[in-house]
Symmetry: C2
Subunit: 301 residues, 2 copies
């Protein structure tokens, strides 16, 4: 398969998954009557209608590779996208990154207000866990409990939220490369790795296969972040749909400030290749996951 064909089929698979994930989130966050309707509106605003769905796509593609039920995989994908959406809503708050723009639209606290944004984030996190442990996700309670456990480990104090704190504390300080690596492994890497792993957990595969997918997810997540740092330096706000050049302005150490643009590009490519290698024991069915490893370092937004 040529690179162009792979890229075209990846785009089709991504678009197909995006549509299905969107519909699944829509169904899993039904509107309610009463004063609390604004909460559901804010939860839907934050999680529907945008985003690359990288995490959800990973969950769906890995589940598909191992033959898991697609409807169940879409629930897991919707769950990880809700978890991701909650983290963005809270990250954008005035006391955190104070960002008015998200995906080219007002961030949730600008569209609603700060209290509703905090509560919508809180309830999105709860819903993400709830979906995983609902019987509809798997008839096997061990799989349900293991999905929730893996999500908690990826997103809590020892994962995403811990990384956010390390990030806040590191602002305005020059961090060495190892600390930047660790920061991103926690802040964004853990949830991307989990997204890939969740498809393997759902399918109930053996440890060897699960380990290969975890290695793929870890390298893909780091490649994604290095590429993000490059984009933050080189792309315009219009291309990104969010404020550009923010990292430099806030004095954060990034892969670009530490390695230079060319060095960061080479590092992203190296990690992307390594992610592909982790899939070597899988056949043609892993083509989309391989193409995704290229896509995350070649994307323009």
């Amino acid at each position: 398969m040529s690179a162009t064909t792979t890229s075209t089929s990846l785009k089709e698979a991504l678009a197909h998954a995006c549509t299905d994930i969107e519909a699944t989130i829509d169904a899993l966050l039904p509107m309610v009557p009463g004063d609390e309707s604004v909460l559901l509106e804010a939860m839907r605003y934050a999680s529907l209608g945008g985003g690359k769905r990288l995490r959800g796509f990973l969950a769906v593609e890995v589940a598909s590779l191992f033959g898991a039920d697609r409807r169940a995989a879409l629930r897991v994908a919707a769950s990880v996208e809700m978890l991701h959406a909650y983290s963005l809503v809270h990250d954008d708050l005035p006391s955190m990154d104070d960002d008015d723009l998200r995906r080219g639209q007002p961030s949730t606290h600008r569209q609603f207000d700060e209290a509703i944004a905090i509560l919508a984030g809180d309830a999105l996190q709860t819903r993400a866990f709830e979906i995983l442990v609902e019987p509809e996700t798997s008839p096997d309670a061990t799989i349900r409990a293991n999905l929730a456990l893996a999500l908690a480990r990826a997103s809590g104090a020892a994962g995403m939220v811990g990384g956010q704190v390390v990030d806040i504390r590191g602002e305005g300080r020059a961090l060495p490369l190892n600390d930047v690596r660790r920061l991103h492994a926690l802040k964004t890497g853990a949830l991307i790795r989990y997204a890939a792993e969740s498809g393997a957990i759902l399918a109930g595969v053996n440890d060897e296969r699960r380990d290969a997918i975890v290695a793929y997810g870890r390298d893909l997540g780091t490649a994604f972040q290095v590429a993000d740092d490059v984009l933050d330096t080189t792309a315009s706000a219009e291309e990104l749909g969010k404020t550009a050049g923010k990292d430099e302005a806030s004095g954060k150490s990034t892969y670009v400030s530490l390695l230079g643009i060319d060095g960061a590009r080479a590092e992203a490519r190296r990690l992307s290749d390594q992610a592909r290698e982790a899939l070597s024991s899988f056949g043609a069915q892993a083509a989309a996951l391989r193409a995704l490893a290229d896509y995350v370092v070649e994307r323009r937004n």
Copy 2:
């Protein structure tokens, strides 16, 4: 057993449970090195060293009534107390209730800062779910998944967080009694009811027993809230360890504003009696739960 004896043994059981719950939370939130240590400090600050532990005590006592393992029950108790602590940290934030004082101490965002308080609340919620689905809570994955599912339903958009939004939206408006009942059933009732139910889920009892405990937890939770409204009107800030008279100052409809002090006291007593009646099929082993129904309407803080 006379009322005085019951009260003394309840106090002893409460004190014993408080000590054990405190030690369990302490062990489940170990400090970590690195920049994220401040996150763990804030999580521990928010969840250790105070509070009545009503929810944790309910989990432990119901588990004990049905013969569940005490170590496992203490994990469930620690989990529900962490969930409760997260809700208090977020409720106290400047954009929400803007409260500087909690249990006579600076609230978490005053002791640390707003960003750390938001993230500590987020990570406490995650940890609450994580603890429930860890294998140490039960060898039975169905029980682990069901505990997490019940907690999610009690604390998310259709429970505690939904109630918080209804509360915010209702401020400065005169609400009828039914709306106030519904608000509290969501905001505080759902988690108290869950706390009781969690002990029954952990013990794997039949539906009849679980339903009786749910009925008890629901009435106890409402009685607790009605008594809280009475205390907010009659007790001093020193007795409460938090700002007194806040509800009246913010123009909130309360059981007291709707029923009068004597009417609210009578309502609390009626609900407390009803909670005791729900336990009629259980024997002397439910004495502490019955005494608790008296305690929540007779307490001074």
